[in-house]
């Protein structure tokens, strides 16, 4: 009897083991300036902007005009294809500007905060008492729908779909990434409330992956299937985890959401407010004292950065250095982000910089630099392209950083020529641009892999849907 119980236990642990994920193919880029685990006060800005360009798969339709008064939680715009998907103001104040680009494309809706912090009240709800439709309705009304993204295509989810599962990556492996277990520690309750709501949205599982090398409150979250993730970046990419847990087939939909956004959903249920404040890591070699700060979605970073940067010739990135958006020193914090990275610009010439085994301050996956000698060194990397775009010559290097079972170079080539059938065959439905970020980084020919994949996905949306 004892033996039988032991047998069951072994089988059980083996089943759990198979749900754990270990990533061998990848690359950890260690950058100088990781944020110290201290939350420090920062001056708050009065300027905010919600940028539709941060949001994939949505054409915005404005509901406000310059001069309108808004509360935190008042709608700014909605999705042209589904007017129920609303985008809310993160603060109360006055619409100060609608910035437009070519063809009158809306680039940003700017709000000047009145510092009153008036919230629109959506009323508190308990997700366990609601039906799926009611949860969806509440999330749409409360402005939290855009946080839920759909794979394939990495776009805002369609509320009419029924996803086969929902995936949340609780581990960040990108360079300088914020530590979720630290950032979310004080949001335990909201996080659990958010999870409770998400479990209503799918008949499948809600998968939460956590750092396999440490334990945090995330290990004790209820209602999820837990996965321990270890290994190199991109182990923390949700797409990689989906591939290992339950890969997407043609015609299937899964939803993903970032943990910091689960918290925003949780707050909506608990307090009835759209409260998009976040704990954000301000990191990078050009930040004097890299630390964590409280910031709100869309907040202007000029005040925050004032006096904190060690140089003037820098790039300020909302997000990580591989996938983030350059916003400038007076730009606005991104819609989904929880990290600001500041690195030096690299606009300099390098005399005979291509001679093998020289310029060893640069980091490389190849052994044509000596960086492999010091695997734990933290590097100061700048934005220099370190060469020019060339034809694809070197083979085999992309596969080294692609843990998903696809042929990345062949998929990129199919994407470049827009061959839909080939892309389908080669697994376009399983990838998002962020999964190609390391290929952006490592490829010798300096091909813009993320951009190629994004454009290919947009073609797929148009042609296949």
């Amino acid at each position: 009897m004892y033996k039988f119980a032991w047998f069951l236990k072994t089988i059980n642990s083996n089943i759990n083991m198979s749900q754990d994920i270990r990533i061998r193919k990848g690359l950890d880029i260690k950058l100088k300036g990781k944020a110290e685990k201290v939350i420090s006060d920062a001056p708050r800005s009065k300027d905010f902007a919600i940028k539709p360009t941060d949001i994939q798969g949505v054409v915005p339709k404005l509901t406000v005009k310059v001069g309108d008064k808004v509360k935190a939680g008042s709608p700014l715009f909605f999705s042209k294809s589904n007017d129920k998907i609303k985008f809310l103001s993160p603060v109360s104040g006055v619409i100060s500007e609608v910035e437009r680009g070519a063809k009158r494309k809306i680039l940003a809706v700017k709000i000047t905060s009145d510092a009153k912090n008036e919230y629109h009240d959506f009323g508190t709800k308990n997700p366990s008492n609601l039906s799926t439709a009611e949860v969806k309705e509440y999330l749409l009304e409360g402005g939290c729908w855009p946080f839920i993204k759909q794979r394939p295509y990495d776009i805002v989810a369609n509320p009419a779909d029924e996803p086969k599962a929902i995936f949340i990556s609780g581990i960040n492996t990108a360079p300088l990434a914020a530590d979720n277990s630290f950032v979310l520690e004080e949001e335990k309750e909201a996080f659990q409330a958010g999870i409770n709501a998400l479990t209503k949205l799918t008949t499948g599982n809600v998968h939460l992956s956590v750092d396999g090398n440490s334990t945090s409150f995330l290990n004790n979250v209820q209602g999820v299937t837990l996965h321990n993730v270890t290994g190199k970046h991109p182990a923390g990419n949700v797409g990689v985890q989906i591939h290992k847990i339950n890969p997407i087939n043609q015609g299937e939909r899964v939803w993903t959401i970032a943990p910091q956004d689960v918290v925003v959903i949780g707050r909506l249920f608990l307090t009835g407010k759209y409260d998009a404040t976040r704990t954000m890591a301000l990191a990078g070699s050009e930040v004097d004292v890299p630390r964590y700060h409280k910031i709100t979605q869309g907040e202007n970073v000029a005040e925050l950065l004032k006096g904190k940067l060690s140089s003037d010739n820098v790039r300020v990135i909302s997000g990580d250095v591989l996938t983030g958006t350059s916003i400038g020193k007076d730009g606005y914090f991104g819609f989904y982000d929880n990290l600001i990275s500041v690195i030096p610009e690299g606009n300099y010439y390098n005399f005979m910089g291509w001679v093998p085994f020289t310029n060893n301050t640069k980091f490389s996956m190849s052994k044509l630099f000596f960086s492999w000698l010091s695997p734990n060194k933290e590097y100061v990397l700048d934005t220099n392209l370190n060469g020019e775009e060339r034809a694809l010559v070197v083979t085999g290097e992309m596969e080294k950083v692609m843990p998903i079972d696809i042929y990345p170079m062949q998929l990129l080539k199919a994407a470049m020529i827009g061959d839909i059938e080939k892309m389908e065959n080669l697994g376009i439905y399983e990838v998002a641009p962020e999964d190609f970020a390391l290929i952006d980084f490592t490829n010798t020919s300096k091909i813009e892999a993320q951009k190629i994949i994004r454009e290919a996905l947009d073609i797929m949306i148009k042609e296949v849907g």
Binding site: S341, E345, G346, N386, T395, Y407
Partner: protein, 385 residues
């Protein structure tokens, strides 16, 4: 270097868009980027990039060729004086100097002709000059007979670059290894200068010098005539780059260590060559078949081809599994052609060119496996649902 930068910056506007010599921009940029890694910063995608670029990779391959090149120049002198009068050998520097005088003009012609065409195509097509020819331009003279007239070399280079490469769309698009295209062109066009027992030692046939290669004498039914040490060290007749297995292995070590060349191709080809050699040893009906399998790997162009030719990433198979298959068949075919082709007892060039043609097919079937796996998963899911 500040002086160079200032000079380049001064003339740059002339070649930029709207400048007087806008058309020649690619050529100007070609020189600029040879001197300076440009100040280009990331615009889209990842904000930081790996330090490596194509120029660094290509220069590494050229560096890996240097040991074979220097030894080869010395060997040109050594073979000549050794056959003239082994008892009256000049000093090492003299032998090297003799070889350099014969060989360096070939390198210069190869680079001038090849790069001129590359620049012309860059200007014509309005794209940047690719670094690929830095390697091809060095490989071509290394695999030619030392006495090949320079004009023939020039015509072969022109053919290789125009038909072998640019006709397919330039660097990265070519099906065949450009250096081997040059050699194949010369081989079929100028056969008397490319084969036989007179071409592999300089001025052979004059002054009683003969220059038969080991494979040549084996094909004629004779013995190898050289010791294994000679074969390994490279004190044998042959084209400049191919004779010294030791020097080639030094280059291979650099390529493998830096990861620039595929170890899969190299190992696959060595295994393939060994397998074929063993089979022939077992049959053993003539001198070439009886030649020990491991010595087959030491002589002729085998080692040079495996390390520097088969590993060209553009014309090789591109998938990991494909590289094994591709490499294996190169080794196998090289020894097979060697033994069966009576007219010309060397098979490396033909084996690599043949497998270059088949590389896309190999990749196609390797990738088909991946596609099948994905479709199967979909079917299973549909069944379960």
């Amino acid at each position: 270097m500040n002086f160079f930068r200032k000079t380049l910056d001064k003339y740059k506007p002339l070649f930029d868009k709207g400048g007087k010599y806008e058309k020649f921009g690619p050529a100007f940029n070609g020189f600029d980027t040879l001197l300076f890694v440009p100040n280009h910063t990331t615009k889209t995608g990842a904000h930081v990039r790996d330090g490596v670029d194509l120029k660094r990779v290509m220069i590494t391959v050229v560096a890996a060729l240097i040991p074979a090149l220097i030894f080869g120049m010395w060997n040109v002198g050594y073979q000549y004086y050794n056959q003239l009068d082994p008892n009256n050998m000049p000093g090492m520097m003299e032998l090297l100097g003799y070889g350099a005088l014969k060989f360096l003009p070939m390198v210069i012609v190869s680079y001038i002709v090849g790069l001129t065409i590359e620049f012309a195509f860059a200007i014509y097509r309005g794209h940047e000059v690719n670094e690929g020819y830095l390697v091809s331009g060095m490989l071509i003279p290394l695999i030619m007979p030392i006495d090949l007239p320079l004009w023939m070399l020039a015509v072969s280079v022109a053919f290789a670059v125009i038909i072998g490469k640019e006709a397919f769309g330039g660097t990265g698009m070519n099906i065949l290894n450009p250096a081997l295209v040059a050699r194949a062109f010369a081989f079929f066009s100028y056969a008397p200068f490319m084969s036989g027992d007179k071409v592999w030692v300089t001025d052979a046939g004059v002054d009683g010098v003969t220059g038969e290669t080991i494979l040549g004498s084996l094909a004629a039914g004779n013995s190898a005539g050289y010791s294994v040490l000679d074969m390994f060290m490279g004190y044998i007749p042959g084209s400049v780059g191919e004779t010294s297995v030791l020097m080639i292995l030094i280059g291979a070590a650099l390529l493998l260590f830096t990861g620039v060349a595929s170890w899969r191709v190299m190992v696959g080809a060595t295994i393939g060559g060994a397998v074929m050699g063993l089979i022939f040893n077992a049959i053993g009906v003539n001198a070439l078949m009886d030649f020990p399998w491991w010595q087959h790997l030491l002589v002729g162009g085998f080692a040079f081809g495996v390390v520097f030719m088969a590993t060209d990433p553009v014309s090789a198979a591109q998938t990991a599994k494909g590289k094994w298959i591709y490499g294996f068949f190169i080794g196998l075919l090289a020894i097979m052609i060697r033994v069966f082709n009576g007219a010309y007892p060397e098979g490396m060039m033909m084996a690599i060119l043949l497998m270059n043609v088949f590389a896309p097919t190999i990749d196609h079937y390797v990738i088909a496996g991946n596609i099948k796996r994905r479709k199967k998963r979909l079917e299973e899911n549909l069944k379960a649902a």
